[in-house]
């Protein structure tokens, strides 16, 4: 795990409404960065010609499923890899259709930047506001608004300014600082301002989309969270060579650990000291978030899959009552009293959703108290009771240790993305129309951190 190269990379996701040209934009990015190889391009030219098109349809580069190509829409997330001399990119191209918002959630859960597309002729629409709320909720640090099809409004600066301003107000109300949101006028079809600057938008002096993606600062996973690692698997070889070896394998979720560190094992609250950090390539002097390692402790303890090894001084407090935000991803609505499974780290436990305390209106950015149910793609506040204590952190502090899955115990499907605490400032508004009006015209800036669930 040591000695490999570390190339600057950016994980990004696209989002936007149906037919606003996301797949074409991604196709254009791949094409103009020369990330498309000859046989792929040849296939696109062939199919485009067969369909009677005069220009190659670049969306065919990414819409790979039969149904997608038949209907000209994106159904599921496609992951793409491309690179420039300055940076490499992992891009999750997510669908715009409201039915598939769960795939936008999938793409956004690990993204460091989201590109939201709007059609310049239609401006900010319901789906734009919904997607912005979802990416804000999931903690995507930076946004790009790509005002697409700018050629179809005759490269009109006033159209671009109006759309940008409306979106900027919405993003600000969701808690984004002005620097974290950038608007760019583009035409994915023609190629304006995607990779090369356009002569058609002389009034625009900002970067092209690619220039922005190459230069936007990438925030690493926050390391201010103390050390946390869920035990995934206990390694016990019981071989002649390693008769007594007992290692706790996992991926460091947050923070930093070194041999000699005193650690607490939750939920039991056991104490020990890190004896060694093992990998197949030899022991490490330290391990940080993202690294898969094996910890050897100085004491013989009863530790198993799901337990969390963490720093003693700021050990996560195991709780059985969790206030959380859910992004509901199932057609079957959630009602109070629902019995579910929760997967947090490496532990899956039974749980009951005791109460639905609020539903979030992502259009008006207000919360509506005591909803009867939470429907597909709706965001709500709940209180959850778990059968086993879980050492959770607040999602606003850690995307890793503050996240959980809600799983259907019968079918096994993933029902919701769960976020501990109140990860979105806008979720805390009181729901009065006045607050909503204020939110869209006079951005609320966060003044205090979200409360930690206990």
């Amino acid at each position: 795990m040591s000695g490999g190269e570390q190339i600057d990379s950016l994980r990004l996701a696209t989002a936007g409404s149906v037919d606003d040209g996301k797949s074409t934009l991604v196709g254009r990015l791949l094409h103009d960065t020369k990330s498309v190889l000859a046989d792929q391009l040849e296939a696109v030219h062939r199919v485009s010609t067969e369909r009677g098109l005069t220009e190659p349809d670049l969306s065919l580069l990414v819409d790979g499923l039969r149904a997608e190509r038949e209907q000209g829409i994106t159904i599921d997330v496609a992951y793409r890899y491309f690179a420039t001399p300055r940076r490499s990119f992992v891009l999750a191209d997510t669908p715009g259709h409201v039915q598939y918002t769960r795939n936008t959630v999938t793409g956004a859960s690990t993204a460091q930047l989201a590109i939201l597309l709007v059609d310049a002729r239609r401006g900010v629409v319901e789906q734009t506001r919904r997607h912005a709320a979802v990416v804000a909720l999931l903690g995507v640090p930076r946004l790009v608004l790509a005002v697409n099809k700018i050629d179809l409004v005759d490269y009109d600066e006033t159209v671009f300014r109006a759309v940008s301003a409306e979106f900027a107000a919405h993003a600000a109300a969701l808690g984004y600082a002005a620097d974290d949101v950038v608007s760019i006028p583009v035409s994915a079809l023609v190629g304006d301002n995607v990779v090369t600057s356009s002569a058609n938008t002389g009034w625009y002096s900002g970067p092209t989309l690619l220039e922005h993606l190459e230069t936007v600062p990438v925030a690493p996973d926050p390391h201010e969270v103390p050390f946390r690692m869920a035990v995934q698997y206990v390694i016990r070889p019981r071989t002649p060579e390693y008769p007594d070896y007992r290692g706790y394998a996992g991926q460091v979720a947050a923070g930093l650990v070194r041999p000699g560190d005193e650690v607490a094992v939750q939920p039991a609250g056991l104490r020990s000291t890190v004896h060694r950090i093992d990998t197949a390539d030899g022991p490490l002097a330290e391990a940080v978030a993202g690294q898969s390692v094996t910890l050897l402790l100085t004491d013989e303890l009863d530790i198993g899959r799901g337990d969390v090894i963490g720093e003693v001084a700021e050990a996560p407090k195991p709780v059985t009552e969790i206030d959380a935000t859910l992004c509901w991803l199932s057609e079957r609505p959630l009602r109070a009293g629902a019995r579910v499974l929760i997967k947090h780290g490496a532990r899956t436990t039974q749980a009951v959703v005791d109460q639905l305390t609020a539903r979030f209106d992502e259009q008006r950015l207000v919360t509506i108290p005591d909803p009867a149910e939470l429907g597909l793609n709706e965001i709500g506040r709940v209180s959850v009771r778990t059968a086993e204590p879980l050492p959770v952190d607040d999602y606003a502090i850690s995307r890793r240790t503050g996240a959980f899955l809600v799983i259907d115990p019968a079918e096994g499907n993933t029902l919701a993305a769960g976020l501990v605490g109140v990860p979105l400032q806008a979720l805390q508004s009181d729901g009065s129309p006045a607050a909503a009006d204020t939110a869209t015209t006079d951005p609320i800036t966060p003044t205090e951190p979200a409360p930690v669930a206990t």
Partner: protein, 326 residues
């Protein structure tokens, strides 16, 4: 105490990779997130499966991707042995060098190998040989039968999202019904690095630890880890004939036809599959470093260059995945 001192890795660590790409005509497909990150992610996936499933198995063809799977699985459970068996769906159309490599690898690491021979299914009438003689599409039935027979509940594959458009849509954990079918519309959301392995009796989960690797990542990692591969991945002189723009080797799968002329060429293989539909590419790359330079400069994708089975229709891969193929 809060620790904030974690910074990026030392700058000198980037020197080697920078040197590896500097002569390339276009800077495409560079390591997306760093080999360490990809390795840690794959190790995490292996351990999740070991923790959540009862009877996992690693699909193993002897090719570079499945060899990488074995290497990463060994790292994930070191110093314990790999807690899974390997399954080779054997079309009978193998390159001898690959079978020799497979058996040597299994012996060296003390692995358990199950072999499902397509020929056995043909002999007992469960499968019919195709008119074109290619057996790649025939692998699906022996694979699904073996999964049922051994009650495998998680099946690792070496599939990568950069290989093909349909594969780009694949999750790392992919639920399959009792017919092994993939339904792209019903895929579970895959959130953060929390993988949902729940499945009902009869269902199983396909697992792709190499999802985020590119062909170039695979080769860079092979170089870094000094991983041995079958010799056909490196340039050698071989008797081949041209069919549909591909250089095929003669073998038990038939060919050359009367109109097809055999000639000796200096070639290597970019993928290992059924010999009837896996073509060689002309190459003089005899070392890993030379292969890396060649792959980085190639204007053809790995599958586009050498896999006839992907050329059958516009959505050939998706159709096979829906049937239960990888």
């Amino acid at each position: 105490m809060t620790k904030t001192s974690v910074g990026p890795k030392p700058a000198e660590a980037t020197i080697r990779s920078a040197g590896a790409v500097v002569q390339q005509p276009a800077p495409r497909r560079r390591t997306p997130t760093g080999l360490d990150t990809l390795e840690s992610e794959a190790v995490h996936v292996f351990r999740e499966v070991a923790g959540e499933f009862d009877r996992p198995v690693v699909l193993f063809s002897g090719g570079k991707d499945s060899t990488l799977l074995v290497h990463l699985a060994r790292k994930a459970f070191w110093p314990a042995p790999i807690p899974f068996a390997l399954l080779h769906v054997d079309t009978g159309h193998n390159f001898p060098e690959v079978i020799e490599f497979r058996d040597r690898l299994v012996a060296r690491y003390g692995l358990r190998l199950e072999v499902a021979e397509v020929q056995r299914w043909i002999d007992d009438g469960r499968l019919t040989e195709r008119a074109d003689g290619t057996r790649n599409p025939l692998q699906t039935v022996p694979l699904l039968d073996s999964i049922v027979e051994h009650r495998f509940d998680a099946v690792f594959g070496g599939g990568r999202r950069d290989e093909e458009r349909a594969r780009a849509k694949e999750r790392i954990f992919s639920l399959r019904n009792s017919f092994g079918q993939w339904d792209p519309r019903r895929q579970r959301p895959e959130l953060w690095n929390l993988y949902n392995g729940r499945h009902r009796p009869g269902e199983h989960v396909r697992v792709f630890p190499l999802s985020n690797w590119t062909e170039l990542d695979v080769w860079n990692y092979i170089e870094r880890e000094n991983i041995e591969l079958p010799s056909i991945y490196y340039a050698h002189r071989r008797e081949v004939y041209l069919r549909d723009g591909m250089l095929l080797s003669s073998g038990p799968w038939g060919g050359p036809r009367e109109t097809e002329q055999v000639q000796e060429r200096l070639v290597r293989y970019r993928t290992v599959g059924d010999g009837s539909c896996t073509g060689a590419v002309e190459s003089d790359a005899t070392t890993v470093a030379e292969v890396i330079a060649e792959v980085a400069a190639s204007r053809l994708t790995e599958r586009g260059a050498t896999r006839a089975d992907d050329r059958m229709s516009e959505a050939a891969m998706e159709d096979r995945k829906r049937e239960g193929y990888f």
